[in-house]
């Protein structure tokens, strides 16, 4: 039964999840394990890092994102902000 927030994460074991991390980082991968610290093991992961640069002269915001794929990843829980079923983009 679902009693506390960690139970919601337990429902996502073996499913693909979306993880928002500190430092404008996002991960999408298959959840294989988690603990109360929100340490995670994710499989077939895609990391997206988003950076916003401020163009000096025009004061324009330049948003860039870079992606990286990793086959198996341990994620330390202290950087995790949220975990959710995959967010559909676009």
């Amino acid at each position: 039964s679902v009693e506390e927030p960690l139970d919601l994460i337990r429902l996502s074991l073996d499913e693909r999840v979306y993880v928002k991390c500190k430092g404008e980082r996002e991960l999408r991968g298959k959840l294989h394990a988690f603990d109360p610290h929100l340490n995670l093991v994710l499989g077939d992961v895609e990391e997206t890092v988003t950076t916003i640069e401020l163009e000096e002269e025009t004061e324009e915001e330049i948003v860039t994102s870079s992606k990286r794929n990793m086959e198996m990843l341990f994620v330390r829980g202290d950087a995790v902000i949220l975990i959710s079923p995959p967010i559909r983009t676009g």
């Binding site: 294989h32 394990a33 109360p36 093991v41 994620v75 330390r76």
Partner: protein, 105 residues
């Protein structure tokens, strides 16, 4: 039983890393430095000792180029990359489910 109590008891990832001793891993730190090496040992805090350590971007961090072994504080780690073949995902998921219910009792 509070969540803090559960966090203290949870040993899942300590046990997980013990199964990876002797394997090649890549440790990415929160300051963006990445080191690859063989996992020599791990402790309850997920501090990590690496043998045969090599820094990934040697040109950017020349002061780390001659490091052979290192101790990394667990709290400094962002990610640890592992080879998929070293992980038995069904066993890991089962252990995760079991620990989740065991930690409640």
């Amino acid at each position: 039983n509070t969540t803090a109590e559960f966090a203290r008891i949870a040993m899942l990832f300590y046990s997980f890393f013990k199964t990876l001793v002797g394997k090649e891993i890549a440790v990415e730190l929160k300051n963006d430095v990445s080191m690859t090496g063989t996992l020599h040992s791990v402790d309850q805090y997920l501090n990590v000792k690496l043998n045969g350590a090599r820094v990934v971007d040697e040109e950017r961090y020349p002061q780390l180029a001659c490091i052979k072994g290192c101790f990394i504080r667990g709290s400094a780690i962002r990610y640890i990359q592992i080879s998929k073949k070293e992980v038995q995902t069904e066993l890991l998921q089962d252990a995760c489910r079991k620990e989740n219910s065991a930690v409640r009792k």
